[in-house]
Structures are given as structure tokens and as C-alpha cells.
Amino acid sequence: MVTMANEWLLLSPAAAFVLAALALFVIDAFAPEDADGGLLAAVAAVGGIAALSASGVLLLSGVAADGVELFGGQLVVDGMSLLFTFIFGSVTALVSVASVDYIRELPHKAEYYLLVTLAATGMSLLASANSLAVVFVALELSSLPSYALVAYLKRNRGSVEGALKYFLVGALSSGIMVYGISLVYAATGSLLLSDVASALGGASADYPGVLGVGLLMIVGGLAFKTASVPFHFWAPDAYEGAPAPVAAFLSSASKAAGFVVAFRVLVVGFPIGTIAGTLDWVLLFQVLAVVTMTLGNFAAATQENVKRMLAYSSIGHAGYALIGLAALTNAGGPGAEATVLGASMLHLFVYGFMNTGAFLFVALVEHWELGRTFEDYNGLGREAPVACVAMTVFVFSLAGLPVGGGFLSKYFLFAGAVGAGVPWLALVGAVNSALSLYYYSRVVKAMWIEPPAEPLGIERYPTALYAAVLTAAVVTVLLLPGLVVFDGIAFEAAASLF
């Protein structure tokens, strides 16, 4: 029996973010000119670590295995929400630590960490959101700080321009989504996902158009958050313009938040069995998945700028993760569906480390002011071998080579797609993975093989940034054998949704 106190305890991961944000407010109010921001970063990092620890403990203790509804069903804490909060916590901690060196010389550090923790709060709420209203509010809570974070380098044209584009496309998408929510409400008479699901049968019969348009528009809003085609336009510009740690945060944590809410809204709120006649969202996601991964990978292949390449590769990975929804054809039985959805979660989990690490490496290179193109990375392997080994691990793991957890999660994903009866989707994914090896290898080639045009002249090796990069690398490698610890959790979390 879950008591009232225990219910609050279940929200402790989100509370950790909130408390960290409040602490940052207080510190900023009393000591606004904290010189190096170490304390601020520490508070944010502790908040992230506390959130990941709390969610880890709750996950392992199994108290929320069946899902616990709070506030009359507005929030739900279950395996999936805890798993994703774990991701948000770890990415927040890594990004906060790495930012110490990155923004050392810049003003408004407290606001920076504050926005990070507030966005993380929004994400952890998104992971638990069980009604369309909470979904929208939490989405805005995570998005609005993100816009500001992208614009953090406010004297930098790219940063400001990227933020503005992000905000404008975001506003449009939010408008589309909230309009979609209103149509669904009109058709079903409820915002609570479970009630929406139970009212679907009647609504499909009575108002198929309203319901269909509404759901399609909600999917549009979610596609914005996950940076899926065609709502991806903001992503390359925002990631490129943003400070690299923020890009890491957005492309890993924010994207995962979009996915967790997409999983819950669609699987819980709009069971495909009931709504297939009105809007076959599995087919819709199949289209989105194929288009997203293909466009992301093809565009990444032609980039000259490493950060932009990573931005497009991040779109490509969104395409892989979409397989989790696109494979729910019910052809392989419920077990196969849980497997492929769980595999998608696992991929986002591993992605949270390897992609964050890759962007933090870019942050490191930006910190050295070496430039952003592939040529600027030439010969880096000789100057900073340890960091370059870490970057090699990241990109090869992203490509799906067996040096890190990315190999296993991709394998699970494609195998799950085959098991769920959509082998062609796995084939498209595998072809795209093969293509991705091309552009990932370019980074490795530049770092290790190409000679530098002129001496790089690296003088400082920033400790905190190195620590964050290496931690991400070690975790990525350890997840190759260590994914067994999480795969059971992910598959069970996925199975409990159906």
C-alpha cells in the first residue's frame, strides 16, 4: 500500500531538480557575483545526481513497477518515468560539470544553471505527465528555459539567431499542439489519458475528423520536441548556435523528454487497436521514422562542421528511436511490442551518455577555440589523446560499432523491429547506420590520421570538462557489458504501458 508520504517520495527525483533550482535562486540572490561559478555548477550537478540516484533507487526497489497515479491521475510514476528521469539526471549532472569551464568567463552564470535545472524539472514532469494539460504545461516548462539557454551567448549572432528560430518554430509547434489538445478534448471530453482512451471508441465513431486532426496536431507538437522531420528545422541552427553544453543538453535530455511523453500519450491515451480506423498513427510514425533517419543521416553526411554534423546525426537518432512507436503493428504479439518499445528506451538511455559526451567534446574543442570544421580537428589525437579516445568511443558507439553501449541498444532496436514484424524498418535503419559510419569516421580520421595545418597550441586542459567527457566515455563503454542491468527494467517498463 502506497501511503501519502510514500507518494511524495515517489516525486523525489523531480523534487531534487526543484530544490536545486530554488537553491540556485537563493545563492544568486545573496551572492550574485560568484566568481567562477563552481558552487552554482556543484548545486546543479548535485541536483542532477540526486535525481538520478533517487530514480535509480526507486527503479531498483520496484515500488513503482505497476505505476502509481498521483494528483487524481494527473501524474503517474512508473518504470518508464523513472528510467527517463535517470537519463535527465545524468545528462544534467554531466552538462553542469562540463559548463564550469565553458562559461567561466561569462556573466549570468546563476541564470544559466537555473535554466538548466528548471528545464530538467519540466522534463521530469513530462516523463510523469498523465494528462494532456500536464503534458502541455510540462512541455512549456522544459522548452522556455531551453530557448533562453540557446541564446545564452547573447553577444554571439549564431546563438541569438538559433534561439530565435528555435523559439519561433517552438511557438508555432506549441500552438499546433495545444490546438490539437483542444480538438481531442472536444471529441473525447477529457484530458486525462486514461479517460481519453476509454472515450476513444465513441469519439472515433462520432467525430472522426475532429479526433484525427487533433491527434495529428498533438503528434506534430511531439515531433517538434523530439526534433523529428518535418518539425526538425530548428534543431541544426539551435544546436550549432547554442553553447555546446546546452546543445548536449537539448539533443540528449530534451529529445528523450519528447520521446517519453510521445510513448505515454500514444500508447496509453490512444491505443492503436481502438484508433487505427481513424488515424493509423503507427503508419504515421513509420513515415516519420523513415523520413527522419534518412534525412538526418544524409544531411549529416554532407556537413563540414562537426557540431552541425552531430546535430543532424541527432535527428537521425530520433529516427531510430521512432522505430519504437513505428513497430507497434501488433504483428508480433504483445511481447514483441514491449521489446521494441523497451529497446527504443534503451537506445535513448545509451544515447544520453554517448551523444552528451560527443557534444561535450565539441565544447572542449570550442573551449580551446580551435574551430568547428572537420579540418580544425586534424591532428587533435596527438595533442589531446585521452579526450580523442573518448570522442572515438562516442562516435563509434553512435555509429553502432561494438565499442560502447550504442551497439547493443541499436541491435536490440533492429532485432525488436524484426521481431515485431517490420523487418523493412530494421533494414532501413541498418542502411542508415552504415551511412552514418561514413561521417562519424571522418571525425576519427581527422583526429588521428590527418596532420594539423598548423600547430594547435593547446595550453590548458580544463579539469571539469575533461571529467565530464571521460565520465560519459567510461559509462558508454561500460554500458556495452552493463546494459543487461537496464534492459530488463526497460522491457518491463514498456510492457507495463500496454
Binding site: K165, L168, L172, S173, F233, A301, T302, Y438
Partner: protein
Amino acid sequence: MALIYELTPAIVFLPLASFALALFFGRWMPKKGAVAGILATAGALGLSVVTLGWLLLSGEVHDQTWYTLVDAEMGVDLAFGILIDQLSAAMLVIVSLIAFLVHVFSLGYMNDEGEPGLPRYYAGLGLFTASMLAFVMADNLFMAFVFFELVGLCSYLLIGHWFTEDAPPSAAKKAFLVTRFGDYFFLVGVVGVLVTFGTAGFAGSEGFPALAESALAGETSVNTFGLSTEGWFSVLGLLVLGGVLGKSAQFPFHTWLPDAMEGPTPVSALIHAATMVAAGVYLVARMYGFYALLPTVLGIIAFVGGFTALFAATMAVVKNEIKQVLAYSTISQYGYMMLALGAGGYVAAFFHLTTHAIFKALLFLGAGSVIIAMHHEEDMWEMGGLKSEMRTTYLTFLAGSLALAGIFPFSGFWSKDEVLFETLVHALGGSPLLFGAYAMGITAVFLTGFYTIRMVMLTFHGDPRSETAEDPHSVGWNVKFPLSVLGVLAVVAGALNPVPIEMLTGAEVDFLHDYLYATPEALLTGAEHYSSLSSYGSGAIAGGEIGTMLVNAGLSFGLAVAGAGLAFGLYRGGSPARHTERLGRVQTLLMHNYYQDEYQVWLAEGFTVRLAAAADTFDQGVIDGTVNAVSSVSRSAGARIRQIQSGVVTNYAALVVLSLLALLVVFAILGGWF
């Protein structure tokens, strides 16, 4: 376990140590590593003799796994182990004896002549000896394959010893490639055996011959890949036989062996008598329990053997270089061994292997002695009259030649006679196909007598035909000692198994026969077990077994004497004529070795290279073209996709809305909303 079996691995490790010493420290060692090699092979010989002695006295065999690579529980059993039974113990003595004598002879042939690269040479000899010894004591096919390959590698290294000249590297490559071609099938066969039986062990009820026997008897079943049990086993046997034919230089893989004469002569002796070439025949004998189950394969072996015996003998008739004659005689003699194995004469085959090892080593070392004396001139027409100048060499060479020719009472007569006798008896016993093999074998006896005596006459008799032949270089003790040892053995080795004497007098003198029959039944590797497996019947002519024996012995002896006499008659006198020129176009054909090399070169250049070129064109054009097309399409598609990202935010908004509308229309139609 007897103490001697604790020491058995040292038989391999001693030459291996001399290999390592010569390789790394040879430059600073006495005689550049020769002394270490001589001591190591002497030690190996001593241990082998003691092993053989112990086996004779106690009858205790030895079969032990030393190191397991992959456990049998994993599905296949890959291990290294030692099997000492009657066959391997005897073979160890032969190999280490020849290796020891070759090392001693090398002092005279290589050191005294001041040849370069001596440490490399002795390192090669050491590894060669060690590999062959390990191959001989291997207790399973997998291990045998590993050392079989090492033997091939060492022969490559040693044949190509004088790598700065043109011919030796080419000959070494040829030897390597041709034997490799056969070994390719062998490797497939090893994998096939492992997959079929899960083990490659030779001996005992767990060995694959025993498993094959029970599978053929229908007691157990194995995976035969859709073929009948016997059909699949025959395929396996033929695959392994590919390696055997390559190594033992049997038709059509014999072409490498004459070219291998480019190596130093002691190496030729080692290759021909005891190591490389013997390895193939030994392998068949080693897994004879498997071949004995397969009459079809035995028939093929017999026919290939008989044909090779005759085929090679015809080519030896016209050769002018002393080592070439010997090379073709080797091919021919191994043909006899294969004939014996194929015709069910297991004991006869091993008997001939033994005597041949002795007299062929003797002949090569004798030829080496002649070559030293002739300042590395090998053409017999430049020699002549050497007998008075080189007494020891002449006498021992003559003993070896008479043994090769099969003249009574030299050792070769007894063993060759037994080979032919076994073939004839089994042919009479209801296997008429063996008559063909027998006919080829018996015809080759005549040719053998002819070319052997021709070689002796041209080399040692008559008047000296060149200045060096008038005043030959003298040879030292290190040449004469091995020649003497082998010369004596070549005369008396026939006493090992003089079956005709036993038949005529009833005296129990078939020692080798009894020895090979003494293998404990449990190992299932003894001649007694093999004879129980054999499907050949026995028949007789001229009033029974003795009559058959007398007919055969008379025929083979008569033909040998006729061939020898013809050669003696033709080539005696001070300056013999080139009689083979009278053969006309036949001689041209024989001199060109039936154009075997030409067709094999054509196979390589005209066929394989063209096929490879076509494959390359396909790969470059179609495969690479597809890949390149995909990548260029990808890049141009990527570049186009890049253009969508115009950077203008109003475009983004428009695209977002338009694509949402497009989706809306499509799904509205699909869902039937309106």
C-alpha cells in the same frame, strides 16, 4: 607411464631448440649452428631408438593429450597429443636417423663449401625436423594438419635457400603453391571430419576411424550432409587425400618435386627420404583405419599410385641431370607406396617407405658427394669415370641404386616385391581393377632398372667427359660417414621383412609384419585391425600362395634385371652415345614432362588469371560501381537536403505547416474523416 614416454616430447623439442639457437645465435655458434643441429638430432635419434626399443620389449603404447585448445564439450575437439604406437615409433626412428645424417652431411656440403646464410639453413633444418617429428607423433588429424603445414613452410624456406639466384625462389614458390593447392582440400577435409565426428583423434574407440566404422555398420548415425554414409566418408577421405597427393608428389601434383632440386642437395635428401614427401604417405598409413572402410577411395589411391609409378619412371629415363633422375624416381617410388596402401598392403607400404627412406637418402647424399666433387656440376654427360676417384661414394651409390632398381638381394627388391605381391594377390581375389594398377607397377619396374643403371653408368663409368671429372674435388669424413651408414643399411634393410624367404622356408623372419601386427587391439591402429577391415579377398595362381609369390618375384626381378641389363649394355664403354635421342618425338615429350608444367601454367595464367581478371572487372565495375553510385547519390541527396535548411525562419514555418497539411490530407483520406 614409462619414463621414456615422459621424454617423448623432447624428440620434438630438441630439434626445435636447435632451430631457435641457430636462428638467433647461429652466427656465433660453432659451425654456424651445425653442431647444435647434429647434437639435437642425435639426441632425438637416441630417444627415438630407446622409444622403439621400449615398445619392442614391453609392448606398451602411448596415447595422451597434452594440450586442449577446444574441449569436446564445445562440439569439436581440438587438441595436441602424442600417439606412440608401432607405426609412429618406427617412423620416428627413420625420420630422426635421416635428419641426423643429413645434418652431418651438411657439414661437408654447406660448411666446407663456404655457402652463405648457414644459420638460416640450420634453423630451417631444425624446424623442418621438429615439424616432421611432431607430425609423426600427432594423435589427431587437426594436429597433423598443423605440422603438415609447417613441414610445407620449411620446405619452402629450404628449397629457396639460395634466394638471390633466379631458380630457387621460383622453385620454392612452386613447391609451396602446388602443395598448398592440395592442402586446401586437406583443410576442408579436416573441418569436415571435425564437423562429422566431433573429434579428429586417430586412435582408440573414440577416434574418428572407429566412429566411422560404427556409423557404417549402422550402429550410430552422424551428419552426412545429405549423402549416403559411405558416400560422405568417401568425400572426406578424398579431401584429405588432396593434401596427401600434393605432399607426396602424386599425379597430378607431382610437378613441384623435380623443381625442388634447386634447393641444397642435403635438403633434397631430407625432403625425399624422410620428411616432406613421406608425410603424405605416412598420413594415409596413420588414418588407414578410415581408408580401409572405403573400397572406392582405396581403389582410387591404388590407381593413382600405380599410374604415378609408371608415369614418373618414363620421365626419369631421359633426364640428363643426376638429381632430376632421382627426383622422378622418388615420385615413382612413392607411387608404389600409394599403390600398396590402396591395394590393402599396409605392411608392404610401410616396408617400402622404410627401405626407400634409406636408399633414397643414400642416393641423394651420394649425388651430393658427386656434386661436391664436380664443383656443383649436375649434368651427367659432363661426368663419367668417377668410380676410380670416389671409391666410397661409388660403392655406396651403387648399393643404393641396386636397391632402387629392385635387384636381389638389396633392400628395395624385397619391399617392392611385397608391394606388387600384395597387389597381385588382392587383384586375383576378386578385385580385377587392381590388375590395371599392378600392370602399371610391374612395367615401371623395368623402367626403374633402366634409368637407375643408366644414371650409375653415366656418372661413374666410362671415360671422364670433362676436366672436372678428370680431377674431382675430394670429400671429407662428414660426407663418407653418412654414406657408409646408409650404404650398409640399403643392403641389409630387406631383412626386416623378407616374406618370400618365410614362405619358402617357413622361418619366422617377417619381423616388420609381426611388429606392425603387435599394436594393441584397443588402439585400433594396428595392421591386424586393418586386415580385419579390409574388403579385399585373396586369390592365387600357379598352385597357391607360394606359386603366386614365385611368379611375381620372378617377373619383377626379371624385369628389373632386363632394364638394368639394357642400360648396362647401352651405356657401357668409354664414351656412350645419347641413346635416348633415338626415341625421337617421344623423347621430346618426356623431356617436357608430358607438358604437365605447361598445362598447369596455363591453368594458372590462362585460366585462373583470366577468371580472376573477370572477377576483378566485376568487382571494380559492378560491386564498386554500385557502392560508388550509392555514395555519390547519397552525397548529392545530402547536398539537396541541406538546401531545404535555408536558414530563413519563415521558410521553416511554412514547411512545417505545409508538411503537416500534407500529412493531414493523406491521413484524412486514409481514415475517411470527412
